[in-house]
């Protein structure tokens, strides 16, 4: 099973071992602001008691990521060391999405990731630039290529990405796949 999720939907999700224990939950999702890749999860303890806990789960230690839980093989894969992952600064949220030809498509309000085995950042939910007095515009989803340029303020996408914009998450998965295969076809 595969599906798409807004990254913010993972906040508060339990971290569960394959033994069925759940010591912690997701506090935040950590991205590489240079590449847009998912690096891991910042963690928080459930409840109020107990001593210091490991506060970081690197992505490579995730066994499975689904809509209901983040699965890990055992507690020992959690670490207290984010090994620089948390120092990147900046945030993908709020970046402007610009096409290669210079059109501002809007600001990023959410990162969309694919679940099921591999977590992959597949696109962004953006708030389109207000056009005239049309204040009723709603957010749209735009796919991102496998690699892209992010400066910490702006994200550059190919002009063709605008052909694969969708209004909701259902159907966005196939739009991402079509967009990426169209790009790879052009490159070869």
């Amino acid at each position: 099973m595969t599906g798409l999720l807004r990254a913010s939907a993972l906040i508060g999700q339990p971290i569960v071992t394959l033994d069925g224990e759940s010591p912690l939950e997701v506090k935040d999702v950590v991205f590489d602001t240079a590449s847009g890749e998912l690096l891991g999860f910042a963690l928080r303890k459930k409840g109020f008691f107990g001593g210091p806990v490991p506060d970081y789960l690197p992505w490579k230690a995730v066994h499975g990521l689904g809509p209901d839980a983040v699965m890990i093989s055992e507690e020992s894969v959690l670490s207290g060391d984010a090994s620089g992952d948390l120092d990147g600064g900046g945030n993908v949220i709020g970046n402007r999405v610009l096409t290669e030809s210079g059109t501002d498509l809007g600001g990023v309000v959410e990162v969309v990731i694919a679940t099921g085995g591999q977590a992959d950042v597949v696109g962004f939910e953006i708030e389109p630039v207000a056009s005239g007095h049309d204040a009723g515009g709603h957010n749209v989803f735009i796919p991102m290529p496998d690699t892209l340029a992010i400066s910490g303020e702006k994200i550059i996408v190919p002009d063709s990405a605008t052909d694969f914009v969708r209004d909701d998450l259902s159907g966005f998965g196939s739009a991402v796949a079509e967009f990426r295969s169209a790009l790879s076809g052009k490159d070869t």
């Binding site: 033994d19 069925g20 759940s22 699965m71």
Partner: protein, 182 residues
């Protein structure tokens, strides 16, 4: 036999013909998908010291069949930490399949045959772990790539049919979905 039927059954020692108590809980080894013991009060009887779960009573035999808990699962079963019924069932890839309502097992061997969840069944062979938070089972992807479609719930078969774009899936029964996916 169902787990819920076994609970509360009288336990009789065949060497003295005396009732020593009632079944308070069962101990499961998730990796082997097998029931390995019974909990009576704060003590354990190994499955190998029982004559299985009889229709009216559980008979036990041996020199000292009642003993203190020794393993993690045995301690968890005694102190109620790993009480399995009503726990959420999660796949290893993070999908919730529902709440565990009962467990069907072989009353002679203790082999776990099915996990009962909200009116559907998950094959006992998918059991991976059972802890204080959840019961963990293998993923639908792993099960289907092993060709064991019978082990999937109806909802999982439907999701798989959706991934493969099977026509008419919305009106199919659990068995029809399996046949369409095979």
């Amino acid at each position: 036999m169902r787990w819920s039927e076994a609970l509360g059954r009288e336990v009789v020692d065949t060497s003295t013909a005396e009732a020593v108590g009632r079944v308070d809980a069962l101990v499961v080894d998730p990796e082997a998908s097998t029931i390995t013991g019974l909990v009576i009060g704060d003590q354990i009887v190994s499955w190998s010291d029982t004559g299985g779960i009889g229709s009216d009573a559980v008979t036990i035999s041996g020199a000292e069949p009642l003993r203190t808990p020794q393993t993690g699962p045995e301690e968890g079963a005694v102190n109620g930490r790993t009480r399995l019924l009503a726990k959420p069932i999660l796949t290893e890839d993070g999908y919730a399949l529902g709440e565990l309502t009962d467990i069907e097992f072989d009353p002679v061997t203790g082999s776990v045959e099915q996990l009962v969840v909200d009116g559907d069944h998950i094959a006992g062979s998918r059991l991976m772990g059972a802890g204080s938070f959840a019961v963990v089972v293998s993923s639908a992807a792993r099960v289907s790539s092993a060709g064991d479609l019978d082990a999937l719930t109806k909802a999982e078969r439907y999701e798989l049919a959706k991934d493969r774009d099977v026509d008419g899936r919305s009106n199919m029964s659990k068995e029809q979905l399996r046949d369409a996916l095979a």
